[in-house]
């Protein structure tokens, strides 16, 4: 019997390894090249900074972030937090940031819904539906987003009737050329209880679902959860309402004279931006979802069918979990794109971060360097944090697939 020789370890020489890492395995040449590159960058940075200082001095602009505490003096037609013309530029920044987040979140929700629906339509057996969905994707994807945004804003929304002849949606919401008037929700006394009741119902349903899953794995016993969850979700809030009174009152808009009284007016800028962003991104999401579903090997579906599972169960338990792994990273990318694209709001005057800060604030104060740096930093932070999270997710998936 022969012993396998023990594998020889490379000699431990930390300095040599460090040297190799620093020089990139190219020796003195690499180090010298890097030093030259670093000095070039340093010279460029120095040049840029001195030029900027000279130019700013010539234009009598004081650099620094002091301008943020100055009074803005302009109004913003949509603010989620209290804002008036007497507020500071910092407040403008916050208002804009919140508006960006609002339109992005709404856009993401609708883009996901439309995108998944179109993807399923495109994969459907139904020839006509598949063609229609394909047509949607091809038309929307091949037109510039700004074009679509201007189309919705300048052509479609402006062609809507005046408030007196608004398009009525069941008499509670009204669409006209000044925007979309929806009922305003006024919270009442029971609102807190209502929210707590809903949360409690959700938590209870989640616990039930977890219990059902454990029973399934342990005893192979299939428990039906959804009727109970539905009952809880409807019952708890109803009980709360009966005991503590209605949670909210809807302030339905009423036409008075030439405009509507009551209700909340969603500006046409917001409507146009939300429609354009969600329909545009939906076309890309649809293709991602379709690609993900098609990438799951056909054998998975056939194996499920040979076990006697119905198609819906195969989709839910076999196909979609595998497809999700492929779909999620590019989907996140699309969400990021949507958020970045929301800066196109400046073209139609929706007061998002870019429009009120890099637009109005920049032109009022002239603080180009600070304003653009802050705006870029916000978008950069959003995308870097998201990609970091995606990396963690990818690492997690990688580990869970390892045997």
């Amino acid at each position: 019997m022969t012993m396998a020789p023990a594998p020889r370890q490379p000699p431990f020489r930390p300095l040599a390894s460090l040297w190799r890492a620093l020089s990139g395995g190219t020796g003195w040449k690499g180090i010298a090249g890097q030093l030259a590159f670093a000095s070039l960058l340093a010279w460029l940075a120095f040049d840029v900074v001195t030029n900027a200082q000279d130019n700013l001095r010539a234009q009598h602009i004081a650099s620094g972030f002091g301008f943020l505490s100055g009074t803005a003096g302009f109004s913003v037609n949509q603010a989620l937090i209290r804002y008036s013309e007497a507020d500071t530029y910092l407040r403008v920044f916050e208002v804009g940031l919140l508006n960006t987040l609002l339109v992005s979140i709404i856009g993401i929700v609708f883009a996901t819904l439309i995108g998944f629906a179109v993807a399923l339509g495109r994969l459907s057996q139904n020839w006509l539906l598949a063609r229609l969905s394909g047509g949607y994707v091809e038309v929307i994807r091949n037109l510039p987003l700004l074009f679509q945004l201007l189309f919705w804003y300048l052509a479609v929304l402006a062609a809507l009737p005046v408030p007196r002849q608004s398009l009525s949606i069941f008499g509670i919401a009204f669409l006209n050329n000044r925007g979309f008037v929806v009922p305003h929700i006024v919270p009442q006394q029971g609102a807190g209880v209502f929210v707590v009741a809903i949360l409690a119902a959700i938590v209870a349903s989640l616990i039930m679902a977890a219990y059902a899953r454990r029973q399934l794995y342990r005893n192979g016993e299939r428990l039906r959860v959804w009727p109970f969850a539905l009952a809880l979700l409807a019952g708890f809030p109803l009980l709360g309402t009966v005991l503590f009174g209605a949670p909210v009152v809807f302030d339905v808009p009423v036409l008075r004279g030439f405009n509507f009284a009551g209700g909340t007016r969603v500006t046409p800028e917001f409507v146009a931006l939300a429609i354009a962003l969600s329909t545009y991104t939906a076309a890309f999401i649809a293709e991602i979802v379709r690609g993900g579903l098609l990438a799951v090997p056909k054998g998975q579906m056939e194996a499920g069918a040979s076990l006697g599972l119905p198609r819906s169960v195969i989709l839910r338990l076999v196909i979609i979990p595998q497809a999700m792994r492929l779909i999620l990273p590019p989907l996140t990318n699309q969400y990021l794109n949507l958020t970045k694209n929301s800066s196109l709001a400046v073209a139609i005057g929706y007061p998002d971060l870019f429009s009120v800060f890099a637009g109005t604030t920049l032109s009022q104060t002239g603080q180009a360097v600070e304003v653009i740096a802050m705006t870029m930093a916000v978008y950069l932070a959003i995308s870097l944090v998201t990609s970091a999270l995606m990396n963690v997710y990818g690492w997690h998936i990688d580990r869970s697939q390892r045997v």
Partner: protein
């Protein structure tokens, strides 16, 4: 019954089975793809209704109810036309030259046309895989054409060559004259050819490279003589007069051409083993990819001038082009890096084993394969770039969309359907451009994957 008779013999023929359901032909198609289940019947009807409500008004608007002739807005009003009015095509006819050229002077438009024609002439053979001479073709399109287009579109001439610039750099007085120009040109040519031959390894080895550079300079001389660049060239057309489709194409083609070397350099930097290069490339790529294009355009418009010396002004269009090139370069870098990573390591190792240097390995072995792999993805990023050129209207450049917006403001054409007509026309241009590119990308992808299809 005597029991001896076999009971299993059938006395009569069994009734004929029904013919199987047809699954081919039109009937079969209807049965299997449209009406095979109650749900599908509902879906079919819903889709049909939807399709009708989308297609019917579109066709009615674009063709049936359209007004084809007229000289001002009255032709497109319902009472004048006598029927509900759809598209108002006279509006497009009236604004056509603006939408294509902007305010490019009428007597100089042949220059824009010539540039378009040259671009088409150089691009078409580049796209067809069967046509040989791709290296020369690519060099002409990516290097020679942009320089030529600059002098054609903008106009103006050259004062001198390398020695003139050197003289200017060291503030030596140099009075331009025709003789000095050609002296400078021939000196520059000689020096460049000599340097090229030396770099390619002395006389016998560098012969070919020297010949190529000599031919290049001969080509440059021909262009100089034809466009009279030595005598002031064509009249200058300021970029503020450019507009419409011209600007859209200039921005997108410059973006495509300039983003390629940036993308390749960044991709090589990111895959390099040298730490500083890698860190720099990663930071650069992630920065540009993390911010929206508008912030880049604002950066180029408002911040770039601050970073340059005070007496140095750059054209608004050039500023935007710089921003777009950097932005597109970062996106291309990621695409190209994907291609570099897809090349098996053995390729590089085999080249190393043959004793090729890093640059020869990269330039002759790895990059050609990597770039061929990523052509479809690159075309997709060019589509995105083409669509993104519309954003220049936000920094007050009048591209096709910007020019359209300007045309809407004209009160002589203010009718209820002007807006829709304008959007229909420009939409068709954008759509055809993007759709053609996406089909081309699919075509190349199929060609590349031909060996995988069974």
């Amino acid at each position: 019954m005597n029991g001896s008779e076999p009971t299993f013999v059938r006395k009569t023929l069994a009734p004929a089975r029904k013919a199987p359901v047809v699954t081919t032909g039109l009937i079969g198609f209807l049965r299997t793809r449209l009406f095979n289940s109650p749900l599908n019947v509902v879906l079919t009807f819903a889709s049909a209704v939807l399709a009708w409500f989308v297609l019917e008004p579109t066709i009615r608007f674009l063709l049936v109810n359209a007004v084809w002739q007229g000289s001002d807005r009255t032709a497109c009003l319902a009472d004048k036309a006598g029927h509900p009015v759809g598209a108002c095509w006279p509006f497009i006819q009236a604004k056509f030259t603006q939408l294509i050229y902007g305010f490019y002077p009428e007597d100089q438009r042949w220059r824009a046309n010539l540039t378009f024609a040259l671009a088409a002439l150089l691009l078409a053979p580049l796209l067809v895989p069967k046509i040989p001479g791709k290296t020369l073709n690519a060099a002409l399109f990516f290097l020679a054409f942009p320089c030529l287009a600059f002098f054609l579109l903008r106009g103006g001439g050259l004062d001198g060559f390398a020695f003139y610039w050197l003289a200017e750099l060291f503030s030596v007085a140099w009075k331009p004259s025709l003789m000095r120009f050609w002296l400078d040109f021939s000196l520059t040519t000689t020096v460049v050819i000599a340097v090229v031959i030396l770099l390619w390894g002395g006389w016998p080895n560098g012969r070919r490279a020297g010949l190529v550079s000599a031919l290049t300079f001969a080509g440059i001389a021909v262009v100089i003589v034809t466009l009279r660049l030595d005598q002031g060239g064509l009249p200058v057309v300021d970029t503020r007069q450019w507009g419409g489709l011209l600007v859209t194409l200039v921005v997108s083609i410059t973006g495509i051409v300039a983003s390629m070397p940036i993308g390749i350099a960044l991709a090589l930097g990111r895959t390099s083993r040298i730490p500083l290069l890698r860190i720099f490339s990663v930071a650069f790529i992630e920065f540009w990819r993390g911010v929206p294009l508008i912030t880049v355009l604002f950066f180029a418009t408002y911040m770039l001038p601050l970073f340059l010396p005070g007496d140095f002004t750059i054209d608004a269009l050039v500023r935007v082009l710089v921003g777009i090139a950097l932005f597109a370069g970062a996106y291309n870098a990621e695409v190209i890096r994907g291609g570099l990573l897809a090349i098996p390591r053995g390729q590089r190792e085999a080249a190393n084993a043959l004793g090729l240097s890093y640059w020869k390995t990269t330039g002759l072995i790895v990059l050609p394969q990597a770039l061929r792999h990523v052509i479809p993805a690159l075309v997709n990023s060019f589509i995105a770039l083409f669509k993104d050129t519309t954003l220049v209207l936000i920094v007050s450049l009048f591209d096709l969309l910007g020019q359209l917006r300007a045309a809407f403001a004209d009160p002589t054409w203010a009718t209820p359907t002007t807006l829709f007509t304008g959007f229909a026309f420009t939409g068709i241009i954008y759509w055809v451009g993007c759709f053609a590119m996406s089909r081309y990308s699919l075509f190349v992808e199929r060609r590349l994957n031909a060996h995988r299809q069974t």
